[in-house]
Subunit: 636 residues, 2 copies
């Protein structure tokens, strides 16, 4: 029995696609008068014009049809006069009547009541576009393989065609599967009440990708994880479609049937591609009909679509080259950048990375977004993507990274923020954009932010760091770094920090001392976060050891994520800001009011993005949004 | 009264657009479940997630939910055994049931009938994706101004949204005008019988451009050249649309009303842009509603759409930057090339040029296609476009030219042909493409072709040049050039040359001597064309001077174009091949059988395109096409 080739590298996968799949080479007609997009339509035959364009000797200018021979010797000083009946007005594009053999531009004439005076000697054929000059009947108007660009569409209509034969586009069906999945429509309809459900968003992502590519895509109904059911659907789909894609079921778990299904209905090609994410992608072929199983996590699904599905479609369409990743990604551009931060990759595996970008002191940087292939947010939020070579192990700071941009980046006015996670700051970006600025946020915690701007890795940091010695916020921490240059400090607001506990406080938590109690589980923030510094201070004051706190090493990166866990009941307690408690409806036990401030190296004070950010701090609309979040008090 | 700013440069036009037009800043909802393309949709508001993703603590792997504390000290050598009831199977994405606090991968376990053995020490939270890890309720899922990329569409659906507010796209109407114009539908329907008509293809070209851009476009019915009628239609359109485009009527002739119409209904902005073609474009504004009149010739209309209409749309959409020509053109890429041939431009005017491209001995070249802005064929046939700076006067051979490619070019296998125009050769390209090759044809005449390959400007030339001294074809001419390197000569076929005269030969032309007669008009081919060389020889033999031939200086570039003129009756006679006579149904008086041969510098013999071309010369399908053209006899 033929087996899957396991863990192939991308190049091998591409050469299998090239070798095992043949172009469809089928013809269908498109109606040039339809509203269809023709962007990736290619002629299937040479089109020979049915018409001459122009259809008749036509004037290239506004002027008078004349006999050229009558203008001999004519000049502004010695105009020739032509009698009525021996000239005729003609508009640009109009037919030059027989027997006239030239057109004189109106600018080269002046006329009396009955006569025309010509101030220029005109040669035979001058200003006449003879019939067939643009294209002659029988000439090849456009050729097999030519793309139907807008001007080719016009050319074909001009040649007398409404219907033209084009290469039939491959037809794809996507079959989403999964017991834990609900359809996107159910997900929207049912509200947030359901449990144990994952929305099926991959088919909608894929639909949008296919639209951008210009290929049709049908979506099959969502199927349960039932091998027979899926095999039957795939078998049936092979009768109608040129490419069948199974969504998910690509791992080796009990409910993963995609490989078995492909084995049952087709010849297996490969299983597992040495890339990350997207590794579990599976391919087979039945006749000339490829089957692909895409891994279920969003980022895995996306990169498998780019790197495997797109080459398959291009191959079926007869396109050369088969692999055009920038085209598959739908990149708005390619950008050479330098790494802002070090990134570790895995040798022997090509890694797809999501990046955000920003320009600092004339250098365009990008940094890799963390989070696994399950993270839809980072996938959506990324400015661009890059595919690391499999030989790459470490990508050090300042090394080069070529990025396929998926969104335009306004390099000149975007600033890079490194620091504390804060909902108010998350919201300010929109108001900054309204003013023509932009800001990319890295939530690295208060200490991380100060260190980053000290190293020149950002335009602005933020912090809310309690110095237990003095009881004062930020001063001691900032002065520790500030010798890297003069910094401007802007105290923006005070934030109320406190304990977030489940509604009604079922575990009856009142103070830090309660945390040591058994059965109380905590969710913490990452090292360097101001909130964690405060928590450590509280523990120390209470004489408690971190080890005594259940969940001390459970990390949430944002206040909202921590609040979400408390609200859902999987933790009892977190320390966080009042705004997060209000957003999730948890109970809130106030602990402290902290100074949240922005720190800006003085050399960036004239950066347009920084100037706009400082303006935006006084934007009443943003301030209203912050006040609605709750727990904030303004400094100015 | 406010007047048009006349003859502005492009930068001025763009700054007027920037200054005088404001972004629409209106909101509409899109349905993410619709089949609409979202490619250039931008969010009009921040979208705050309604859901936590994941919605519950979910497993990141296939394995068993366990209590992490029970695996302390576990290893392959010392597996821990867990009793039934104290573990539970969980699939990737499935909910981790309470009170379990970790998941162990199935690969790190083996199971007895009633117990689970674990070979790894697992930490609390391991392999669990806590609720809200991807996105938390209340978090900004996507921001005002963000493009609806495929992954953002998935993110928004995952956040609980079906309808999302986006910036309303500007609505445009295009109003074609012109007395000499017929609608494309009439043009197709009426066959080739009508006269004095030009097909209205611009609206279809513009529709395709708008589809590529992702903006909606409505097409108004075709209007006569009547100022009141057009003004009324424009006035009415201003009530419905954000941008009104008038097609044609931009010159200063009697029937050109676009400027007057814009003056009547709006404030004039500019008239005439210092570019070529596209110079006559006109703009005005009524409130915040721009009006544009596009010149009628296809290439003028196209470049005005790219350089004026697109920036207006981007401005109305609030896009920054406003001008992105590569994006407007819908370029598939930017290519640095060198000029294959010298090009003369006009100083003080930016010139749009159409180019074809080819790679010769490792250098990527482009050459400018001739033909005015009326040429639809060259516009459609071009590989790409370039916009010359207004300071450019001469663009010498080998100087740099940056090209926006509109079509993919297969650089490695495309060859450049310079030489005689021949319908058989025109057809061979398709069969060459079928084999994976490609060829760009420059019809420069037989002598021009030989000179070009002697200068290294092409891979293959063709000729059919009679040496009157010997009565032999080609030998003398080729040996004149061949010292530039060894050339391979391939005699492909003999072609019948003769006089093409109108059907029934109304002027009773029998021989070359008849040409001297009065009232017989001739259409010639360009200097260096083999057919012209033959004609000059015939004249000389008959003792006739070129000056005695009416129309000796009337030039057609191709056999078909010359035949079209004879067929349409605007000339009486041309010298050309039988295939052209057959295509147009003219009478044909045989004069000579000539050797048509290909000439290939030996250093290109190993070029993949040349090897494929030589193969294709024996392609039976191509040979059938050539035989159907008529008048060809094979050499081999």
């Amino acid at each position: 029995m033929v087996k899957f080739l396991e863990h192939v590298d991308l190049d091998t996968a591409w050469s299998i696609i090239e070798k095992r799949i043949s172009p469809l080479d089928e013809v269908e007609n498109v109606d040039l008068f339809s509203d269809d997009p023709f962007g990736n339509r290619r002629l299937a035959k040479d089109i020979l014009s049915l018409r001459n364009l122009p259809q008749y000797p036509s004037s290239a200018v506004d002027g008078y049809s004349i006999m050229a021979s009558e203008t001999a010797g004519s000049s502004p000083a010695t105009p020739v006069e032509i009698k009525k009946g021996f000239f005729a007005w003609v508009n640009t594009g109009g037919p030059v009547p027989q027997p006239f053999d030239a057109v004189v531009m109106v600018e080269d004439t002046f006329s009396g009541p009955e006569t025309l005076k010509i101030t220029k000697t005109v040669t035979r054929g001058e200003n006449i576009r003879p019939e067939g000059e643009d294209i002659a009947r029988g000439q090849i108007a456009a050729r097999k393989g030519d793309l139907l660009t807008p001007s080719t569409v016009a050319m074909l209509i001009g040649s007398g065609f409404q219907l033209v034969p084009v290469a039939r586009l491959p037809r794809t069906v996507f079959i989403p599967t999964g017991d834990e999945i609900v359809t996107a429509r159910e997900w929207i309809k049912d509200g947030a009440d359901g449990e144990g459900r994952v929305p099926e968003t991959n088919s909608w992502m894929l639909k949008a990708i296919y639209r951008d590519w210009g290929y049709p895509l049908a979506i099959h109904e969502l199927l349960r994880d039932d091998e027979d059911l899926i095999a039957e659907a795939v078998q049936k789909a092979l009768g109608t479609y040129d490419l069948v894609i199974i969504g998910a079921g690509t791992a080796k778990g009990r409910r993963d049937h995609s490989a078995e299904v492909i084995m049952r209905v087709a010849e297996p090609l490969f299983r597992g591609v040495r890339m990350k994410p997207g590794r579990p992608v599976i391919a087979g072929i039945s006749g000339n009909k490829p089957l692909i199983a895409l891994p279920g996590f969003p980022m895995s699904s996306l990169v498998s679509a780019w790197s495997i599905v797109n080459p398959v479609l291009r191959r079926l369409s007869g396109e050369v080259p088969t692999v055009e990743l920038g085209n598959a990604i739908g990149a708005t551009g390619i950008q050479e950048t330098k790494m802002l931060m070090h990134h570790s990759s895995q040798q022997g595996v090509r890694e797809w990375v999501r990046v955000k970008c920003g320009e600092i002191e004339g250098t365009r940087y990008s940094w890799v977004l963390s989070g696994g292939s399950s993270s839809l947010f980072n996938t959506s939020d990324a400015d661009g993507f890059s595919l690391l070579e499999d030989s790459v192990l470490e990508v050090p700071k300042e090394s080069s990274l070529t990025v396929w941009l998926k969104k335009p980046v306004d390099w000149g006015s975007r600033i890079v923020y490194q620091g504390s996670n804060d909902p108010g700051i998350e919201h300010i970006v929109t108001f900054l954009r309204n003013r023509g600025g932009d800001m990319a946020i890295r939530s690295v915690g208060s200490l991380g932010g100060l260190a980053a701007i000290a190293r020149g890795e950002g335009h602005v940091a933020s912090c809310h760091l309690l110095d237990p010695q003095t009881g004062r916020y930020n001063d001691a921490f900032i002065s520790r770094f500030e010798d890297s240059g003069q910094w401007t400090r802007i105290r923006v607001y005070k934030r109320e920090q406190g304990f977030l506990v489940q509604k009604g406080n079922p575990k009856n938590i009142r103070s830090i001392e309660d945390i040591g109690r058994n059965k109380i589980s905590f969710v913490n923030r990452q090292p360097g976060a101001g909130t964690r510094v405060l928590f450590d201070h509280l523990l120390k004051k209470a004489g408690l050891e971190p080890e005594s706190v259940t969940g001390y090493n459970n990390i949430a990166i944002t206040h909202l994520e921590a609040a979400a866990r408390v609200s859902a009941g999987s933790c009892d307690l977190t320390l966080g800001i009042k705004a997060a408690a209000l957003a999730f409806g948890t109970d809130f036990i106030p602990i402290a009011e902290e100074d949240f401030e922005l720190v800006i190296p003085d050399r960036f004070r004239s950066h347009p993005g920084i100037r706009l950010l400082i303006e935006t701090l006084s934007d009443e609309k943003w301030r209203q949004v912050v006040e609605d979040l709750g727990g904030y008090t303004w400094f100015f």
